[in-house]
């Protein structure tokens, strides 16, 4: 094709190309606020040249395709950071509840322990006084109740976390199913970023969501994508999703199984699931064990003190009642309870008389005795406060660092893939100008053709 028709053809193609440009711009602006959307650009290229007589003439423009702008490396980094962020976030959320159970000031177990030892000192000023005896019994009851409550709340936190694990596994399964469905719709080969940009965008957003839930390794080959956990349990292979499952284990909590039936509970290290499991299976049980040890240590030491004295009825030795039900080991904190309700059964006397307070020194001495993990009662509680505080504080720092890192990565990603209205506006002007110019070319060619047609028509 050559001559005026050729020129006309070039201009028409240009019109079409600029229109594609306008369309991409319109699409970009429309998706300004769509999460995971990658900015698209039309890929213009020169149309093949052709010969006009002995001249090589340019063939105009053609649109090779529309490309989504994305940086796969950034996507990977964001996915990694999201796993850490999800992990820290879930852990901090769980432990924020736990740390309120271990207050450092005027409430809680520490306060009740110290109130109990105060009541002993009070009783020592008048050991046969019924009111003071009742005071010591009430303080002992309050101390037991505070252990019961804290242990109960730790158990319920753990149950709640157990429920979270099930929910998070379900969410993982939903996401892997959605990702597999997208995979199935993508051809194995071909320039997917150019032709299936929106599908890739969606898949990318889903992978980020998945990374927030569980640790993920990605392997891409062409357009095909394999997702596994860091330890290699399959999640998605191409168009096939492999669902995880949960089932109660022998320890009474939900365990996570891979699709092959392998128990992967201990392997999950990232995402919310990782954080939830760390709190549920490590931190909370460790606190429970220490609380039980403290409760059991107190009960044993105070019962021993009781056994050395004489009560108001003159009972001593084997005839004495225990002060607390003798509980030790697992469940001691939850089961801690007074064994007596009669304040006269407290063995305050060391010489058998009702007015002696000699054995109360044995009770008071428990406050400064090593009873649990090499520590005194108040020291052991202080240590619990320190541990809970440190666990939360460490993970909060991790979370802050992760958030900052993630923000930075997202900014970077955004500057590659995000839509800038300034840029779109300037593109819009460019396309508009090019469109107007091409239209002008068509008008001019059209006039030239008219002129040509009128040659020979003379003065009609």
């Amino acid at each position: 094709m050559s001559g005026l028709t050729g020129t006309m053809w070039i201009a028409l193609n240009a019109l079409e190309a600029q229109q594609v440009g306008m369309e991409t711009t319109a699409n970009n602006v429309a998706n300004l606020n769509t999460p995971g959307y990658s900015r698209q650009v039309p890929v213009f290229q020169e149309a093949p040249q052709y010969l006009e007589g002995s001249l090589v003439v340019g063939g105009g423009v053609e649109v090779e395709g529309i490309q989504s702008l994305r940086d796969n490396l950034l996507d990977l980094q964001i996915s990694e950071e999201t796993q850490q962020q999800g992990n820290a976030q879930a852990y901090v959320n769980a432990m924020d509840q736990v740390q309120t159970l271990f207050p450092d000031d005027t409430t809680g177990i520490g306060q009740q322990i110290s109130a109990f030892f105060q009541s002993i000192n009070s009783l020592s000023t008048d050991p046969s006084d019924t009111t003071l005896r009742q005071g010591m019994l009430t303080a002992a009851q309050n101390m037991a109740t505070s252990f019961n409550n804290t242990a109960g709340q730790l158990t319920s936190v753990r149950q709640q976390l157990d429920g979270d694990v099930q929910q998070q596994v379900q969410q993982v399964n939903q996401l892997t199913q959605q990702i597999a469905t997208i995979n199935a719709n993508l051809p194995d080969v071909g320039n997917a970023t150019q032709e299936y940009g929106s599908l890739i965008d969606q898949r990318s957003a889903l992978i980020q969501q998945l990374s927030g839930l569980i640790d993920v390794s990605q392997l891409t080959e062409g357009n095909s994508l394999t997702l596994t956990t860091k330890q290699g349990a399959a999640l998605v292979v191409g168009g096939q999703a492999y669902a995880l499952s949960t089932a109660p284990g022998s320890d009474g909590v939900q365990h996570v199984y891979s699709s092959q039936g392998q128990d992967i509970t201990g392997e999950i290290s990232g995402g919310q699931l990782g954080g939830t499991l760390a709190a549920r299976d490590q931190t909370v049980p460790s606190l429970q064990t220490q609380l039980d040890s403290l409760a059991g240590g107190l009960v044993t030491a105070l019962n021993t003190a009781q056994s050395k004295g004489t009560d108001m009825y003159g009972n001593s030795g084997d005839k004495l009642s225990n002060l607390f039900e003798p509980v030790t080991g697992a469940g001691a904190a939850a089961d801690m309870a007074l064994a007596i309700s009669d304040p006269n059964l407290i063995a305050a006397s060391s010489d058998g008389t009702q007015g002696s307070n000699g054995n109360l020194a044995n009770f008071s001495a428990v406050a400064n005795t090593v009873i649990s993990n090499g520590q005194t009662p108040s020291g052991a509680y202080g240590n619990l406060v320190f541990q809970v505080g440190t666990a939360v504080s460490n993970q909060t720092s991790e979370l802050d660092a992760s958030n900052a890192m993630l923000q930075q990565l997202q900014q970077q990603q955004s500057s590659v893939s995000g839509v800038s209205l300034d840029q779109e506006a300037s593109n819009l002007m460019l396309y508009q100008q090019a469109y107007q110019a091409s239209a002008q070319v068509i008008t001019t060619v059209s006039q030239m053709i008219d002129t040509l047609m009128n040659v020979g028509a003379g003065s009609s």
Partner: protein, 302 residues
């Protein structure tokens, strides 16, 4: 190129950060505490468990001190009346030893001595809040009972044990002096001495018999006054402890404040800074709004 979404995210993040800072500063100012959760400063929180337990302990020691002080003072002032009575008995006895006195006079003195013995007997059975203070640890029943078969006609049924009360960490004080040290000590029994004196006077004994009885009473008197100093010195000791505990409490409160409390100037400055920073961010956010090339395009169309 900075994308439009990125810009609004930046603003959002900045707002979130300054919101958080403002919240933290506000909590600190309103609670007066730097540590509002264990995680704010785990070491300080653990330290506070210790400090607050020590403060509670101090308060309890102070309460115990005030309760035992009033018991000790009651016992001491009662013993004071015994001392006066015994002094009177001694001077009566000395008077009775005077050879010029008639038997009638002596009988009358003997009756006065018996009256003094009853007075001492009732003080020896002093009860404070239902507890017999001179009974040793057998303090739920009266330590002295009338018993004609016992020497002096009065039998001690208390014991010679003492109770101790912790008044500070590592410091405990004995809080009672058994009657066996005060009234019925071996060889210095007030009741025996009074009874002997009254018998010597009534039986119209020789002046030397009466004189011996007075000497015996002096011995019992000396024992009682010396054993009685226990009360004064214990009260002195625990008053010293009380002062120590009060200053300890002040020191612990300072330590607590230094550990978990805020420096109010710093906290208020932090709060002001956080508020200003938030206001500035909000203003920046507002001025960002709508400043794109698109607006220019729209205006161009008019």
């Amino acid at each position: 190129m900075i994308s439009t979404l990125q810009l609004s995210n930046l603003v959002l993040n900045a707002l979130e950060t300054s919101d958080e800072a403002e919240q933290t500063a506000l909590t600190q100012v309103t609670t007066g505490r730097l540590v509002n959760a264990d995680s704010d400063d785990p070491a300080a929180a653990a330290q506070e468990v210790n400090i607050s337990s020590q403060m509670n302990g101090c308060d309890q020691y102070l309460r115990s001190i005030s309760s035992i002080t009033s018991e000790l003072q009651t016992a001491d002032s009662s013993l004071n009346s015994v001392v006066t009575a015994l002094q009177q008995a001694i001077s009566l006895g000395t008077e009775g030893a005077n050879s010029t006195l008639s038997q009638q006079d002596r009988t009358s003195i003997a009756q006065q001595i018996q009256g003094i013995s009853h007075q001492v007997f009732s003080v020896a059975n002093l009860a404070y809040n239902g507890t017999y203070v001179f009974a040793g640890t057998a303090s739920t029943q009266p330590p002295y009972v009338l018993d004609s078969s016992a020497p002096g006609g009065v039998r001690y049924q208390g014991n010679d044990h003492m109770n101790s009360v912790d008044v500070a960490d590592g410091e405990s004080v004995a809080v009672n002096q058994p009657g066996s040290q005060l009234f019925s000590a071996q060889g210095a029994n007030v009741f025996v001495a009074l009874s002997d004196l009254s018998t010597a006077l009534e039986s119209n004994g020789s002046t030397s018999d009466i004189g011996d009885a007075v000497t015996e009473l002096r011995g019992a008197y000396d024992q009682l006054t010396s054993a009685r100093t226990f009360y004064g010195s214990t009260v002195n000791q625990i008053t010293g402890t009380q002062n120590f505990l009060n200053s300890e409490n002040v020191q612990l409160a300072q330590q607590q404040n230094a550990t978990v409390g805020i420096d109010i100037d710093t906290a208020v400055t932090d709060l002001t800074n956080a508020e200003e920073s938030r206001a500035a961010t909000v203003q920046a956010a507002a001025s960002l709004n709508g400043a794109t090339l698109m607006d220019y395009l729209a205006n161009r169309g008019r």
